[in-house]
């Protein structure tokens, strides 16, 4: 259904977020705010070794400490392998994790759990646990992991749910290969071939609310868990399977979530709360310290990506070959899905090639585990591809903007990659029904004055400004896999209660779903009461990941609202004694000829006076395609040639995400993504010592951007309409993060002649490069 944007009154209009005021006023609706006051406090004993076997563990002294209620080691928990990743079923990640295990595989891995009446006693008890380790040789270099003599997962009982290339005896969590055409032949026939290898680091999510969960038994003795999670329904399923409980005995509630970015698409402590409460009968809670978030949750997958690109002299790109190696750390959460995105949401940008090949491995190391993180795989792939495209442009003597415009995806085109590559499985063929990439490239160039300033402008003897660009694409949910649903119920007074499984983690999905429902039912957002998400009370939703919420959950809400509208008209027609087709409904009144009745009156009548019944509808949506949002990004950087220090003076983006359901929230998603991407490009570095200890485990040693690093963001949207999206919308949650590494890399090169192949792009690396150029 195509809706005229000009007629939209709520969607695509400025609407304040539904929870903004309450949260600013300090309403207490985050996970730990809702913990039972008498909760047992859970603390985890963590491994001091990167790889070790627990030979002996004695918890008797800890157990004897006054105030300690429960101590658990691997001997006390179900020995059932699972994946912490909150993904669809069957999971495309290996089941290679136990709640507690006799092996510990990174510094920070769980050794034992203590629950005590307060935090101090729990911490004291940890110190009383005596562990004898057999320290094993760790693998700390992911380029040496494959077929290393150290096998990180030698244990029995781990498995893949379907073939994903899982080969633990070779330290391989997953592997993948694909090709279209004959890449070697096409490269050999190309006039120009470039070959570049890039390294990207293990970025930390650094959401401000740390991982938190708490549990209690309800009056039916069911387990009720509040969790700061992006995927409450997946959590319930995985917990039920792993603990051997019926799904009906578990309730997961996601209250307000203080940021996720993929970091909360997994188990981080919920199993321990569940076990503590089930075994003691008492409420319990576990709040990660900041150090635990850095050192014992997970990070972005570090990768090495080699790009070989061929082109003809006229600037036609002929073939792309992408080889990749990904470091999943100690466990394989999201190993295959993130890996495949390096190809599937990056390489189709240049869809006119004669041949394309992608493949490689995801290997285990004894580092903090890697997992889902906003832009998963796409940001790593984009850095390698888009920096290599600039190398190619220089070799061809072409403006990189023109090279991109000539070869990139356009509306009504497709790429064979879509059909071949999905997420862990085969993909889905699709045509780009909306793609304003040519406009985005052109408009972005105007905004940064590319034609006047590219490649550089000299500011002084020691300062120069450089200009760089990149383009990007993402997806909108995972087709035929991820489902969202919404229930709408009519209240007396004519307001609507909307319950959705869609997981608002701060991105504002409660607001945009309210807008979609209000627009469809021709009412205002204040008449829509939204509640998300609770496995007891709200219908199913896969959760907030893979840029799915606006598109998948938004479509579900739209379907439900359309159904509600139809129901209301039918029932009003019956009340008025007329045909449904004769009834006009303007959101307030039902009119047929000279007969009319208000929604307000009917809503009261139906509950209290006449033909009493509850009007409610539930609808679901499953994507059949995953329409990509597109973006062109440009940056202006000023570099100090004597020190390598630089500042990003302006970051320009033009985004095609279809209709912006909420223009301000869409801007927030794009700009929030860009600044996180800039963090990865410029500052954020995960550092280990030679023993595998994480050094960057706090905000003083892991540097996320602050107000002083953000100078100017210029954010625009293309006028676009995606026919399969709710009111023409595509996703916008991840696309913003994809471009900064490549854009900053290209801008620094254009300013200085130094190309940085390893993130982050630090002043020290730039100065080193400048000194080498002088030699």
């Amino acid at each position: 259904m195509i809706v005229d944007k000009k007629k939209m009154k709520v969607v695509n209009n400025i609407t304040p977020s539904v929870d903004g005021k309450g949260l600013m006023q300090g309403r207490s609706y985050y996970t730990d705010d809702l913990a039972d006051q008498n909760s047992l406090v859970i603390k985890i004993l963590r491994s001091p070794h990167a790889f070790a076997h627990i030979k002996k563990i004695d918890v008797s002294k800890a157990q004897a400490l006054n105030g300690v209620e429960l101590v658990l080691t691997y001997k006390d928990v179900p020995h059932v392998s699972f994946s912490r990743a909150g993904q669809g079923y069957p999971e495309p990640s290996p089941h290679d994790k136990f709640i507690l295990d006799e092996y510990v595989r990174y510094v920070g891995d769980e050794v034992a759990m203590v629950a005590a009446i307060n935090e101090q006693i729990a911490e004291d008890a940890l110190k009383l646990i005596e562990v004898e380790y057999e320290v094993l040789e760790p693998v700390l270099d992911f380029e040496k992991a494959y077929e290393n003599k150290t096998i990180i997962h030698p244990e029995d009982g781990i498995k893949e749910m379907f073939p994903i290339g899982f080969d633990p005896k070779k330290n391989v969590a997953a592997a993948y290969e694909m090709h279209v055409g004959d890449v070697e032949k096409e490269l050999a026939n190309s006039d120009v071939v470039v070959d570049e290898t890039f390294y990207s680091q293990a970025q930390a999510h650094a959401m401000i609310e740390t991982h938190s969960s708490n549990a209690r038994l309800d009056e039916h003795n069911r387990l009720v868990i509040y969790s700061s999670t992006q995927t409450p329904f997946h959590m319930r399923r995985i917990m039920a399977t792993t603990l051997g409980l019926p799904v009906s005995q578990i309730r997961f509630i996601k209250p307000r979530v203080g940021g996720g970015f993929g970091g909360k698409q997994a188990f981080h402590g919920e199993m321990f709360c569940a076990l503590t409460t089930l075994r003691t009968g008492k409420p319990s809670k576990l709040v990660y310290t900041r150090e635990e978030v850095f050192g014992a949750s997970y990070t972005r997958h570090p990768m090495r990506i080699q790009m070989r690109i061929g082109a003809n002299k006229d600037g036609t790109i002929t073939a792309i070959d992408c080889r990749s190696l990904s470091d999943t750390g100690a466990y394989g959460e999201h190993s295959l899905t993130v890996f495949m995105i390096v190809g599937s949401k990056v390489l189709p940008l240049y869809n006119k090639v004669k041949a394309v090949r992608f493949g490689g491995k995801v290997v285990y190391t004894n580092h903090v585990s890697a997992g889902a993180y906003r832009g998963y795989g796409a940001i790593q792939g984009n850095y390698a591809l888009e920096a290599t495209i600039d190398v190619l442009a220089e070799k061809l003597g072409m403006d990189p903007k023109e090279l991109r415009a000539k070869n990139s995806m356009r509306e009504k085109e497709t790429s064979p990659i879509f059909e071949i590559m999905g997420e862990g499985t085969k993909g889905t063929a699709m045509i780009m029904e909306s793609c304003k990439l040519p406009y985005c490239i052109k408009r972005g160039a105007e905004l940064i004055e590319w034609d006047k300033k590219y490649p550089r402008v000299k500011v002084s003897e020691t300062k120069v400004r450089g200009y760089g660009m990149a383009i990007a694409m993402q997806g909108s949910g995972i087709p035929f896999m991820d489902m969202g649903s919404a229930t709408i119920k009519l209240n007396d007074g004519g307001s609507y209660m909307v319950t959705v499984g869609a997981t608002d983690i701060g991105q504002g999905s409660d607001t945009i779903i309210s807008q979609i429902v209000a627009e469809t039912l021709q009412t205002t957002v204040d008449k829509v009461i939204i509640y998300s998400s609770d496995t007891d009370l709200t219908p199913f939703d896969c959760g907030a990941y893979a840029s799915s919420t606006t598109y998948i959950s938004g479509n579900a809400a739209w379907n439900a609202a359309l159904k509600m509208r139809e129901r209301l008209i039918n029932e009003a027609a019956a009340y008025l004694g007329v045909k449904s087709s004769s009834v006009e409904f303007d959101g307030k009144e039902f009119v047929s000829g000279n007969k009319k009745v208000s929604l307000n009156d009917l809503s009261v009548l139906w509950l209290y006076n006449k033909d009493q019944h509850q009007v409610s509808v539930t609808e679901s949506y499953i994507g059949h395609v995953s329409p990509p949002p597109f973006m062109a990004a440009y940056a202006e950087v000023e570099v100090d040639l004597e020190t390598g220090e630089y500042e990003v003076l302006n970051y320009v983006t033009v985004t095609d995400c279809g209709t912006t359901i909420n223009p301000m929230l869409a801007r927030g998603q794009v700009e929030g993504g860009i600044v996180q991407g800039l963090g990865m490009a410029c500052f954020e570095d995960v550092k280990y010592d030679t023993k595998g200890n994480l050094l960057s485990n706090n905000f003083l040693n892991y540097h996320i951007p602050t107000h002083k690093e953000v100078h100017k963001l210029t954010t625009e949207f293309a006028d676009s309409y995606e026919p399969t999206g709710p009111f023409g919308a595509k996703s916008v949650g991840e696309i913003g993060i994809d471009t900064p590494p490549a854009v900053i890399c290209n801008a620094i090169y254009n300013a200085t002649g130094v190309r940085i192949h390893k993130l982050p792009i630090t002043p020290e690396k730039i100065l080193k490069g400048l000194k080498e150029l002088k030699k």
């Binding site: 101090q120 020190t643 540097h703 107000h707 080193k768």
Partner: protein
């Protein structure tokens, strides 16, 4: 962190004698470092009621109580009038207001932290520390003092003179410890150069200073030579934040820039 007693001292004598009672007893200034280090203390000694939180202007000096917060210090008009505001600028580079409202000038100095912007920022100037029991030494003497000083810092006295200063904190983001910090001053025609976070605590580069201060007129070549000398006389090392080589490059560039700036 376990604390048995929180003791509000009503005089310096009391605080001092309490401090002697147990080696684990400690003074609380802003309380930030105590939290970071997370050790057990028998008694924490609170000095907040002893009037150590005042800044007062004397004819030839500014006296800063040891418990003056970094925020009160950097926003004080008196401090901002010193050396073209160079000292205030250095302190303003430390974290945000909600941190600087806790951290104190005394706590920052007494810890002799390698990353300290307070120490490097003050070093090029005539700064004297006053202690209880009564004694005093210059900031540089304190930095060179071996072992833990068994005394309570009461006042930081900054001499008021005509002059200019330059300060640079090289950092990754605004909430970072410095990769290197460089302070340069020209006071009464004498140059002074301090470099910290090398990654060791700030220190004065005396040889470079002497080279400059023994000349009547300073040429670009002298500045070049002085900046080379700084990199030779002070020790620079690698750590996870930067290599020794990069620190040396930064020191040369910023000492040069600083000298040019204060010579203007």
């Amino acid at each position: 962190m376990k604390i048995k007693e929180y003791y509000r001292a009503s005089s310096l004598e009391e605080a001092y004698s309490k401090l002697q009672e147990d080696p684990s007893n400690a003074l609380v200034a802003g309380g930030l470092w105590i939290k970071k280090v997370n050790q057990n203390h028998n008694t924490l000694i609170d000095l907040s009621t002893l009037g150590l939180n005042k800044i007062s202007e004397k004819s030839d000096a500014v006296e800063v109580g040891a418990l003056v917060t970094l925020r009160d210090f950097e926003s004080s008009p008196i401090v901002n009038s010193l050396y073209g505001g160079a000292i205030a600028f250095a302190i303003r580079e430390i974290m945000g207001v909600n941190f600087r409202n806790l951290a104190t000038i005394g706590g920052s100095i007494m810890g002799r932290y390698p990353f300290s912007d307070v120490i490097t920022g003050l070093l090029p100037y005539d700064v004297t520390l006053e202690f209880y029991p009564k004694s005093s030494m210059t900031l540089e003497e304190y930095l060179n003092y071996k072992g833990k000083l068994n005394a309570i810092l009461t006042k930081v006295i900054i001499k008021k003179e005509e002059g200019k200063g330059f300060y640079k904190k090289v950092k990754t983001t605004a909430l970072d410890f410095p990769i290197l910090n460089i302070a340069v001053s020209k006071v009464s025609n004498k140059f002074s150069i301090a470099v910290g976070a090398r990654p060791m605590t700030g220190a004065l580069a005396h040889k470079a200073m002497d080279l400059l201060n023994n000349k009547k007129v300073i040429s670009d070549k002298d500045i070049e030579e002085a900046s080379e000398l700084v990199s030779k006389e002070l020790m620079f090392l690698d750590n996870k934040d930067a290599s020794k080589e990069y620190r040396l490059d930064l020191a040369k560039v910023y000492v040069k820039r600083g000298l040019k700036e204060v010579s203007k």
